[in-house]
Symmetry: C2
């Protein structure tokens, strides 16, 4: 059975994001996958990248450099426990599934903090092991999110621009950088502004997609996909 | 004298980001500007968008919706004190200057949390008052940041893509959405990997740019600028 880590960022279990997360847990479990959820708000996950992420002494206590210190700490097993736990989940996962409401053309800060703190140099990448040779290669990622704006507002000529424009930093800059192959995003547009019936259809469509998820080919994560 | 709010995210005062921030404070003060710094790590600024941001009762305590609750709380003066303080600083500022190290093609989580929590609906935008008619119109913004990668790595044909690709969510999705006009970004590429002499030149160039900052024209914040 494949292993899935769902990194989930919504404050409210009854929210539409909560339902999307539940659908994924149910459908993937039914398939025999082993599913782990990092429910970031419930965990009160710390988003700030600080000195607290390093247990014990610093490599250079005169001038704190987060990237250098976490890299050194990773190598000697000196990262804080909450970070190590998440790294273990990532290490074991075949698929990283990010479920969140779009906040300001990006992920909520609590999820960005998960990225900033967990995907440490030495663990997820280490030059020249980045992009196609990133240390998390052979894993898949999928960004599943909801928007406030409608689908029409996220098209090329419209004011928000193509939805793909805003996926570049997340899919390419984060996941591809670590060697992870990216499946097509799953976007539920404006669930707050559609009828209940339509929301149900969205949940069914998500469950439906998950049934054949493992047969999907990753996207070609290059500028052409985003900006063509 | 013009008013500047510097939103600053670095853990280490002695860092190159710290120096860039200090240069801005000195140069702008010398010009007679009134400069305020929100030093996010020093403030231990809370990045998580939670129920704690609303003082007192909720509009709908059955199902927590952060966007709705903060909007309602804003209208009745019921946002948490740390958010209100930042909103006052934003309200008074003519220029919002963001100073940070690029983390994963974006801002550090602590700064994203500032955006998520401070730029509340009703305060910074309220449909149809978004983009050119956003509620923070007549203000300017400038993103000043450092990278790990070199300038060559952030060009069109190179692996990281054009640096402008990753500016879309920040400059357009956040600032333009609120009606703020965006000045050209100020990027210091790979300060950790260049000689001390080159770093000094970068600080001088920044001070130099600031001398004529108020004469600059904002960029044309449309897809052409980013993806042409």
């Amino acid at each position: 059975g494949r292993k899935v880590l769902i990194v989930y960022a919504h404050q409210e279990p009854k929210s539409f994001n909560g339902s999307l997360k539940n659908v994924a847990v149910e459908e993937l479990s039914k398939q025999g996958c082993s599913v782990t959820v990092s429910d970031l708000y419930a965990m009160q996950f710390e988003p700030r990248a600080t000195r607290n992420d390093i247990v014990g002494f610093l490599h250079n206590s005169e001038e704190f450099n987060y990237g250098v210190e976490t890299w050194e700490a990773y190598k000697r097993g000196g990262l804080s426990n909450d970070v190590v736990k998440e790294q273990k989940k990532v290490q074991e996962a075949d698929l990283l599934l990010f479920q969140f409401p779009l906040y300001w053309f990006s992920m909520p800060a609590i999820m960005k903090g998960w990225v900033d703190r967990v995907l440490v140099r030495g663990f997820a990448h280490e030059f020249p092991n980045c992009y196609d040779s990133g240390l998390l290669k052979n894993k898949l990622a999928l960004f599943s999110f909801t928007t406030g704006g409608s689908e029409e507002m996220y098209t090329k000529g419209a004011i928000n621009g193509d939805i793909r424009y805003l996926l570049w930093p997340m899919q390419h800059g984060i996941m591809h950088f670590c060697g992870v192959k990216v499946l097509a995003p799953h976007v539920c547009f404006a669930p707050e502004y559609v009828p209940e019936e339509k929301r149900k259809e969205m949940l069914i469509a998500w469950a439906q997609r998950l049934k054949t998820l493992w047969k999907e080919e990753p996207i070609n994560c290059s500028p052409e996909w985003y900006f063509k």
